[in-house]
């Protein structure tokens, strides 16, 4: 197990005041919050910040953590000494950093290091969860998870078996993770950011109450060819200079798997989008597919290629920088 230096994580000195710790946490939490920061790695960083803050904001946990002394470094192999936390009492065993719905992650995102010191946080009960009282019937918790699908699935519809890691809480409150496989029909026309509601696939009901629902937030696998904006899809079409100048016909692959012939008119300019109406993500009002031309310049490696460029120069009285003359 690796040691975690919570002071280093928050960028504060070991003697930092509560106010300094709070301010450092807030600043970093705003920066790395996964709803705000879409960079890869931000979510992981946010969890680490949350974990550090959960310990350092809590006087008892911080005092217990400080017992290890300041010689431990981030990432060092670490085993807590026996009875290290004797005489400390924690007013809560929860961990405030994570919340349901991120990347299929639920509560319990804390590190092994945190868990070995402070135990696993209890799975947070939504609203009216808690201990079932006799005669009380409640709908089970709604669960949230993110799933990645291919853009082609949104064009054609698909049937996919997905694996979710669900937290399961036993009678004594311990949380473990269980893998659950679901065979899900992906409806044609679904878009990134939309949620698929699977009725009755969430947490079990309390008493006679019905099970909760499962919400699957859809994301597309990153795609090297297409860029998606809502229901519209964009594809870059590189053209040779002579193709752009003289016009041509190119084959444009669609995410649905078909190929469209696109006429490139003479005098096509880089960046001038060409719309293939209705060839975006399908729906009653389907999106459009946009071909975005760019001009690819072939390198002049051989003598004859250099001559070809020189012939260009002779043929044109062309100065692309006329607007720059001062």
């Amino acid at each position: 197990m690796k040691f975690r230096d919570y002071y280093e994580t928050l960028g504060v000195a070991r003697g930092a005041t509560e106010a300094e710790i709070k301010s450092a946490y807030r600043k970093m939490a705003r920066k790395f919050h996964p709803d705000v920061n879409k960079e890869p790695g931000a979510e992981e960083q946010f969890k680490q910040i949350g974990e550090a803050y959960a310990v350092l904001k809590d006087t008892e946990k911080r005092a217990a953590y400080d017992r290890f002394g300041e010689n431990w470094k981030n990432g060092q192999d670490f085993t807590p000494p026996p009875n290290w936390n004797e005489g400390f009492e924690y007013s809560d065993d929860g961990f405030g950093g994570g919340h349901p719905g991120y990347g299929g992650g639920f509560e319990g995102d804390q590190s092994e290091f945190f868990e070995s010191l402070f135990g696993r946080g209890k799975h947070r009960q939504g609203g009216r969860g808690g201990n079932p009282r006799q005669g009380m019937n409640f709908k089970g918790q709604d669960h949230h998870a993110k799933i990645l699908i291919d853009l082609a699935d949104a064009y054609n519809g698909a049937k996919r078996t997905i694996a979710l890691h669900m937290p399961v809480q036993d009678a004594s409150g311990h949380v473990s993770t269980q893998e659950r496989k679901l065979d899900v029909s992906i409806p044609k026309g679904i878009k990134a950011g939309q949620n698929l509601r699977l009725s009755g696939q969430g947490g079990p009901g309390v008493g006679e109450g019905p099970a909760g629902d499962l919400y699957l937030e859809i994301e597309f696998h990153p795609n090297a060819i297409y860029r998606v904006e809502g229901k519209d899809v964009f594809i870059d079409i590189p053209l040779a200079p002579w193709e752009a100048a003289l016009g041509t016909t190119v084959n444009v692959p669609t995410p649905a798997g078909s190929t469209l012939e696109l006429k490139i008119p003479a005098g096509t300019v880089a960046g001038r989008k060409m719309r293939l109406k209705g060839k975006g993500i399908p729906s009653s009002e389907p999106g459009d597919l946009y071909a975005v031309p760019s001009i690819a310049l072939p390198p002049a490696d051989t003598e004859s290629q250099k001559e070809a460029y020189q012939a260009f120069e002779k043929a044109f009285d062309f100065n692309p920088r006329t607007h720059l003359k001062g």
Partner: protein, 102 residues
């Protein structure tokens, strides 16, 4: 080899097909109903219908409510702060979608 029949679970696309009551939205976003009412009064969410009992939230409200709940919980933003953050996040998402890929 035996062939097993798989029952594929059909879901409803929340944004297209689902309109939620305040009770459903509260349950799905794990947010108390009174906080949802405050968000409505601040314009974070705009349900159809005249009174909380009749409110119908469009499917898009779920995403907004979840983000609002995260921001409230993680950053301790107050309601006007959440409203501002959501508007700015929407704008950033639109601008980012317009950027060419690297």
């Amino acid at each position: 080899m035996t062939q097993t029949n798989i029952t594929w679970i059909e879901g409803a696309v929340v944004e297209n097909e689902v309109h939620m009551t305040i009770v459903e939205l509260s349950h799905a976003s794990r947010t108390p109903e009174d906080l949802i009412m405050t968000w409505v009064s601040e314009g974070v969410l705009s349900p159809a219908g005249s009174s909380p009992q009749n409110w119908r939230f469009s499917g898009d409200s779920l995403r907004r409510a979840k983000t609002a709940a995260h921001l409230t919980h993680d950053l301790e933003l107050n309601v006007p702060g959440v409203a501002l953050a959501l508007d700015l996040l929407d704008e950033i998402a639109q601008l980012r979608a317009r950027l060419p890929r690297d």
